[in-house]
Subunit: 441 residues, 4 copies
Amino acid sequence: MGKKNFLKKPPMGWNSYDYYDTTVTEEQVKANAKYMAENLKEFGYEYVVVDIEWYSKDAGARRADFQYIPFGNDEMDQYGRLQPAVNRFPSSADGSGFTHLAQYVHDLGLKFGIHIMRGIARQAAHDKCPIHGTQFTADMAADAWSICGWNPDMYGVRAGEAGQAYYDDLIKMYADWGVDFIKCDDICDSFLYPDSGRIKFSGYEETKMIHRAIEKCGRDIVLSLSPGPAHLDRDFFYEENANMWRITDDFWDDWRLLKEMFWRCETWNGRTSKGNYPDCDMLPLGQLGYGFGQERTSNLTFDEVRTMMSLWCLFGSPLMIGAELTKLDDVNKAQLTNKELLRVMDGKHKGFQLRRSDDEAIWLNIDEDGTELFIGLFNLTDTEREIVCDINDIKSGAAIVHSASAITDVWNGKSGEWDAAEQGTISAKVPAHGVVVYRLF
Amino acid sequence: MGKKNFLKKPPMGWNSYDYYDTTVTEEQVKANAKYMAENLKEFGYEYVVVDIEWYSKDAGARRADFQYIPFGNDEMDQYGRLQPAVNRFPSSADGSGFTHLAQYVHDLGLKFGIHIMRGIARQAAHDKCPIHGTQFTADMAADAWSICGWNPDMYGVRAGEAGQAYYDDLIKMYADWGVDFIKCDDICDSFLYPDSGRIKFSGYEETKMIHRAIEKCGRDIVLSLSPGPAHLDRDFFYEENANMWRITDDFWDDWRLLKEMFWRCETWNGRTSKGNYPDCDMLPLGQLGYGFGQERTSNLTFDEVRTMMSLWCLFGSPLMIGAELTKLDDVNKAQLTNKELLRVMDGKHKGFQLRRSDDEAIWLNIDEDGTELFIGLFNLTDTEREIVCDINDIKSGAAIVHSASAITDVWNGKSGEWDAAEQGTISAKVPAHGVVVYRLF
Amino acid sequence: MGKKNFLKKPPMGWNSYDYYDTTVTEEQVKANAKYMAENLKEFGYEYVVVDIEWYSKDAGARRADFQYIPFGNDEMDQYGRLQPAVNRFPSSADGSGFTHLAQYVHDLGLKFGIHIMRGIARQAAHDKCPIHGTQFTADMAADAWSICGWNPDMYGVRAGEAGQAYYDDLIKMYADWGVDFIKCDDICDSFLYPDSGRIKFSGYEETKMIHRAIEKCGRDIVLSLSPGPAHLDRDFFYEENANMWRITDDFWDDWRLLKEMFWRCETWNGRTSKGNYPDCDMLPLGQLGYGFGQERTSNLTFDEVRTMMSLWCLFGSPLMIGAELTKLDDVNKAQLTNKELLRVMDGKHKGFQLRRSDDEAIWLNIDEDGTELFIGLFNLTDTEREIVCDINDIKSGAAIVHSASAITDVWNGKSGEWDAAEQGTISAKVPAHGVVVYRLF
Amino acid sequence: MGKKNFLKKPPMGWNSYDYYDTTVTEEQVKANAKYMAENLKEFGYEYVVVDIEWYSKDAGARRADFQYIPFGNDEMDQYGRLQPAVNRFPSSADGSGFTHLAQYVHDLGLKFGIHIMRGIARQAAHDKCPIHGTQFTADMAADAWSICGWNPDMYGVRAGEAGQAYYDDLIKMYADWGVDFIKCDDICDSFLYPDSGRIKFSGYEETKMIHRAIEKCGRDIVLSLSPGPAHLDRDFFYEENANMWRITDDFWDDWRLLKEMFWRCETWNGRTSKGNYPDCDMLPLGQLGYGFGQERTSNLTFDEVRTMMSLWCLFGSPLMIGAELTKLDDVNKAQLTNKELLRVMDGKHKGFQLRRSDDEAIWLNIDEDGTELFIGLFNLTDTEREIVCDINDIKSGAAIVHSASAITDVWNGKSGEWDAAEQGTISAKVPAHGVVVYRLF
């Protein structure tokens, strides 16, 4: 029972996937970490996460045919544990895994994270590798009927002694490396094993095993579950076992997905609490797509980026930047580092939706001491629009609305006096796909 | 925007369905109301609800073939509004509907409720009845493609001017009668029009129209939505438009359904708030089934009834008794009127699940001032069982656990001193299918 | 047991729907019938079918909102039987229904057909009309839970004495009018009542009732079932009870639908036999769409029309023309009246698919005496293509291929000598979306 | 194009599965083959089929946990081709596979068959074994996303050069061994990859590859596809590529499954032709279940066995005996060897259903020269029943019925004279779950 309570606010950081796909190298991770330490750390960004297939020596080599090469050339130790590919992460050549890279990140005052696939390497199971420190072999832990619908690397792990022993050892190795954050994939939703299917999805049991292993490992490791959409009726389960869970399939730079996220946030409205963060996925702004074959500038417009940042923050989602940081321009950097908006990311604020239609949405966010209220007026249509909120409708934040004396427009920075008695409404002209966020205090 | 805030706690009362099916009469309603006033009112029970087809003159006449007789003999006024069947509700003979019966109930210090089917009488649409006080006719409001999968009386109402006008007038008539509670059926879940179906379910739009009509009608009317299971991803919508929504299909006296309710409550865990009550359905204890063709004593055992009462209360569900009240024995009466347990029904307590497995469940419930904590230890297995809760796991209620000095066993009434420092755990031997509830204060 | 064996070949004729939607009038039907008698009869076309809602006095009046007006103004007799709308079919003013129009068609040497919706008029059920010649009333036959997902006129009919009596009387009335062909709709496939649904689709039982009524009525009436797609696993049932059944949802002038029909025909390959005709739906060539709001010329190209005609014929589908006949141009008239191709429509030929890929299809058709073989080489791609058929692959028709001495190109009319021994293959350059059909004899 | 036409009648034989599960040995196969040669061959039984996992050295060793042991101990050659387990099939010790066993079977005048799983051994793919006689390796042929939902041995094979090369070599090896019959599993229906699923089922492409490989291999090998239910809309595909396809999931000795088979046969009615045999699965009579952990006598009653034999024969299904032959008693032997009934298995008879209800079914079977008609009257109820067939209903066989002069009761052997003119009907008193079959000639 009980997940460690070390995580006090939604994680913020950077993830290599949106720009690098499977191909990121040690140098590239370091460069992004350095940028973060110098430019973003003061705003709360701290996690540097190496995403999928860091163990692959030939990642990206057959990109036209496969995102993930089947029977590919992976770095694996004698115990069937996948290791960083030495050709991409040279510091792992001494067999220390990510130890040196983690140290580098830690030395910058940041935290280090990795992506893993649920399960055990298929190759390890067929090779019957011993599970380190146990009498078990990998085939005893592996579930030959549990595969991932899109990545060919792993078998699921069967619940049982061998399975728990495997995960205990694996997580301990990660802890020893200095891992602070694990994004575990193929564990939250599976199209191949639907709840109504004939084979029970092993992901739920594996989540529990990984959670138990983290509890035992002696290090505070954030557990993030992918892919989404997470199952709303399992919220209690996620809260018991994880820290973050994706509420959507991969989010990309597409207005339709961004608009749809308002619906998704509504369904998870009120489900965020300390240590439990429903996750809207990475922020695909700036430069993207390099590892996918073609670098591109994000398709999200200036206003859409503001909408994204505002929704993620007011809802309380983790903020993981998808852009290549070293190529970030000033505009996007400013969008990511609005100090006024980021106040709500301190773990002491709570967001909730006030209303939503096909045309507009309003989100509120209040600090636990009741000293300030943020209100986001979102325009979901394709034309500019006046959005009006009757202050009588603001139930949860009514006291603040009435006691507040100042108002700030969070995005343009202008402030003024506020007198609720004089104002019947809070309103703004909001650009198409855009947002206006006010802070009352 | 905005549902009236008159409803401060989960409704408690009696509903005619479990005993009478479609057949209840004015005299029977009065007898149950009288019993409630004399025996249950002091414990918080106040709503007297006449369930389905009170407008049917031949209800129950062809029970072997039909629960709801198609093209049956219904009381309808010239405006296509269904009226109480005079042969069953004689006081309505003067055209005043339920006015006199509601008055009788009000005079007992209680509140009066009715069941309605979503929509407009099919007969009214085919007769093209004028909608009272408007230029519209019933066929203009009716949606010929929206029927109920199990009851043949109504067409759904199309969103639009005629539809809103119809509902406005209908709800106004109910308000004039003195109705305090509307249980609207075929509006929450529909197997005939699934979300993935080719015809959009009109129930959502009708919920909004009814909500608007209630807002306008000048009377505080509770809106209860049936049948379940309500859709978890529409919680925000329910909160905007209704007061109660069924989280399950009809609940009956069957252990499997009771055990399943623990899963259902888990999925709605934390979704209860002032005015918003996910609903576990009626309490099928005591005498049941008379109108269904065969009166029977509930199949729920003594311990199962305690489990049911404890779960409904700790979760925060409305409590609507299904038993024929005039036949209630002392044992069941005691189960319904445990003052210690019913403390949590005051609208100032909030429940949440601590954990659940296939074998046991633990629920907590805390008052908003933080002075008392209830903990229910539920045994979901078929044999007696020691259930243990480590007090370190009680996060939300930790402060109370530590400051409390007394403990009461809610169901056996015994009290004692409590010293958290001396106790590492809260535990009890719990009978099969049973529960032990403690109050710490 | 046993369907009358009067129908010896696939029906050919004209249907009012594709051009007139719900709006066709007596004069228009007569004009088309006259055209058919003068121009098409000699080629085998003989059925003149009045399609949906001939009983509606206001059909088409609210076309922007409804194709089928709910609670519309329908002609109905005292027995709840829908009658031709007198404003559209003046000859029915004497209460004789379609008697005079059928007589007109018969006098031209043609046959007369009507479209009906499965069931009994909803209005009749709510009015409790007596069923003609019985003690029953319409509400006793009607199934209040059986509606059509797209047309609001009828309730389904419950299997039972009242239901059979209703259909017996109804079909007898049609027989008395002189009806030779009934296209019954909402009876073959229903999206509202899927086989896995909670309410059993009454269409299957109604098909049986209608079949029995036809057997009793004293007239040879073709029974055609709509809409499709018919259910392949119920083929035996269709053969027992009907003459035609639609293998597709409505077919229109769209290449994608035409290409898809090759797949559909493959699945019904070999299921055609005397009296049993899986049906590819009407031929939407020439002028279409007038009653839908905008007359248009068919989007099918010259080659696509040939492909359609060739597939329908070689497969053995009924041929019901959708075009307004009086506006038929010479080109389309020629496409419809290729005597060489229409040889296969004599009820003594049988078609079967030889092969199909995404790029091409080959169909064969052989007469029962084994004197001639048709082979259709279909190009399903967007560019011209050589299609080659090895004559060794022609198993069923091998004898004919080897004994034949002549070959005709069915569409261009050219003939030549044929010597199988000299030819290893049958082949042709076939235009995109086009076909070459040869006759060997 | 074109499947070899060597298979002139539905295969008859024995299969090891129903009795031995995965565990059959060479000695046991030989004993059954010997029994067949001495007792059943004269009746047409000729195929001796070794069912699933003959390559497994530890088959059955962990039966409580696994029917098919994951990462089990399988015999595999250097080319990744599974070989008979030497501990079970000692004659394969010289590396000749099933050559000697096949020879033994052939020497008895019988034919030899094996079961295979679709795909390539997973171990071979992970070991990157060379594909014999090619430049490819197993991982190039394997599809890492294609597994079997119930057996863990194989990966599916991707369509392409490597895949075809693999199958070509594999089937050639089987041909060299002397294999006459391949029952390929996990290739006909897959619950894990439904047609609506996100991953396309590779079984269809693999069927084509195996078919092509058989065409090339130089030996007449029957291809039988499992498991069912086969997809009715792919009948054309099955006819192009295979000889038999299962129309049901595994059939066992259970009346409900037997009764259901009547529905299944109806849906495939008329789809049997030379070389194409929809397959009702093995005949589970006599002694069964030994390898499953507990030998048992079939639960099918005497009458049910007759019903099964009669349906399989009149429908035209292959007949594969599931019983351990050496333990066959005289009664069951007689049921399997009714010469009169087995006349219809000569490849010159064709069966079709006359009618079916929940209570009874009637099947006909006629020889292609029109000299004899079999009629099976099946009682599907639980009580004895008179079943009557009006001879006017026998359309297809009418000529025979009228010209026949003799009638034989196929199961009791009694014969008599027949005069259609004197008889209006063919009828019999039929026991519950039983059948009476007449032969008219």
